[in-house]
């Protein structure tokens, strides 16, 4: 039958332009033996379900709890993070930036969206957006204000531009009121944004009230 000749317009399927191009790539790469669809599914499953900011939160909680680990993390982040089992793509060369009352660190990738996947998963939409990528370099305090964060005037803000060779993870300051908390409890309050530098870690009101 001549496709579409007598069909009503809504009876056949339609793929969007982007879907068509992705199908074209995938079917050709598969036929030529460059990729295996099962291997692609495995990668997708990893990033949708297994890798994310909870990994980074474990790293931060360990550093807050163990001075020796923290020293190692600041000296050789790749090895110290791998020690907790977080290795793999885009985590080969890591550096951890410690926030203190004197210095607040923020991370960006001005070129594209380089990001430490093993500890934070894939980047949030705003991290990939032009407004963030361009503004954080020019006006970091303004960006922080947009995220609801105000720092003392005398805190120096350092903005670090990620590359394909170096990825950064911010070690946020441990909030007051968390003395004696174990690592699980600490990890629960560490947010993704605090490890990018667009947030700070606070004790949730409910947890503080329960003390």
């Amino acid at each position: 039958m001549g496709a579409g000749d007598h069909d009503h317009p809504h009876e056949h399927s339609e793929l969007s332009e982007l879907e068509l191009r992705v199908r074209a790539l995938e079917s050709l790469l598969t036929e030529k033996g460059y990729v295996d669809p099962a291997a692609l599914d495995e990668i997708i499953d990893t990033y949708e379900n297994r890798v994310g900011p909870r990994n980074g939160a474990r790293v931060v909680a360990r550093a807050w709890s163990n001075e020796e680990y923290k020293a190692w993390l600041l000296k050789d982040a790749t090895a110290a993070i791998a020690d907790l089992g977080y290795t793999g793509r885009q985590g080969e060369d890591m550096q951890v930036l410690e926030n203190t009352p004197a210095v607040h660190n923020m991370v960006v990738c001005t070129l594209c969206s380089c990001y430490p996947w093993p500890v934070l998963g894939l980047p949030p939409v705003w991290y990939k957006s032009a407004p963030y990528r361009s503004r954080v370099v020019i006006d970091p305090r303004g960006v922080l204000a947009d995220f609801g964060v105000t720092l003392p005037d005398d805190t120096e803000i350092r903005v670090w531009d990620s590359t394909s060779e170096m990825r950064y993870l911010v070690l946020p300051m441990r909030p007051e009121g968390t003395e004696g908390w174990n690592e699980d409890r600490l990890a629960d309050i560490v947010t993704r944004d605090s490890m990018i530098g667009t947030g700070i870690v606070s004790v949730p009101a409910a947890a503080a009230a329960a003390e």
Binding site: V125, V143, F147
Partner: protein, 129 residues
């Protein structure tokens, strides 16, 4: 203080900065095709077809070129850039020619149009009705 806790948690500044797209810690891909194109680039890199520095350079160039063509680039078109970078790179690396890619895109389009709604779209369907 409490207000800050709430805005910090899963609702980063998006509502405060209208320019920035909203992003809670939700799904990482908006559509299956985004996941597919992401995985293809990762896999080809792992197999040594290109370095990650090459990838970043191509992706960066596509982002810049899209911005110059008027894309406000708010992060929602990120995987469009990713797709274009991959198309360019597979052609440069002689994995798939660009004409071959266009022909295959057209074949998928014909196959889709020849497929009744709701049935799986299979390549070649338009030739073997």
């Amino acid at each position: 203080m409490n207000a800050r806790v709430r805005s910090d948690a899963n609702d980063p500044g998006a509502h405060l900065l209208p320019e920035l797209p909203r992003d809670a810690e939700g799904p990482v891909f908006d559509a299956p095709w985004q996941a597919q194109v992401f995985a293809m680039a990762v896999k080809l890199h792992e197999q040594g077809h290109f370095t990650w520095a090459e990838w970043a350079t191509h992706l960066g160039a596509e982002i810049k070129s899209a911005q110059e063509s008027g894309d406000p680039d708010r992060g929602d078109t990120y995987y469009d850039h990713w797709l274009r970078a991959l198309e360019t790179l597979v052609a440069e690396k002689n994995l798939i020619g660009s004409a071959e890619l266009t022909d295959r895109r057209d074949a998928w389009d014909r196959a889709a149009r020849a497929t009744p709604h709701g049935e799986p779209i299979v390549l070649g369907r338009e030739q073997n009705p």
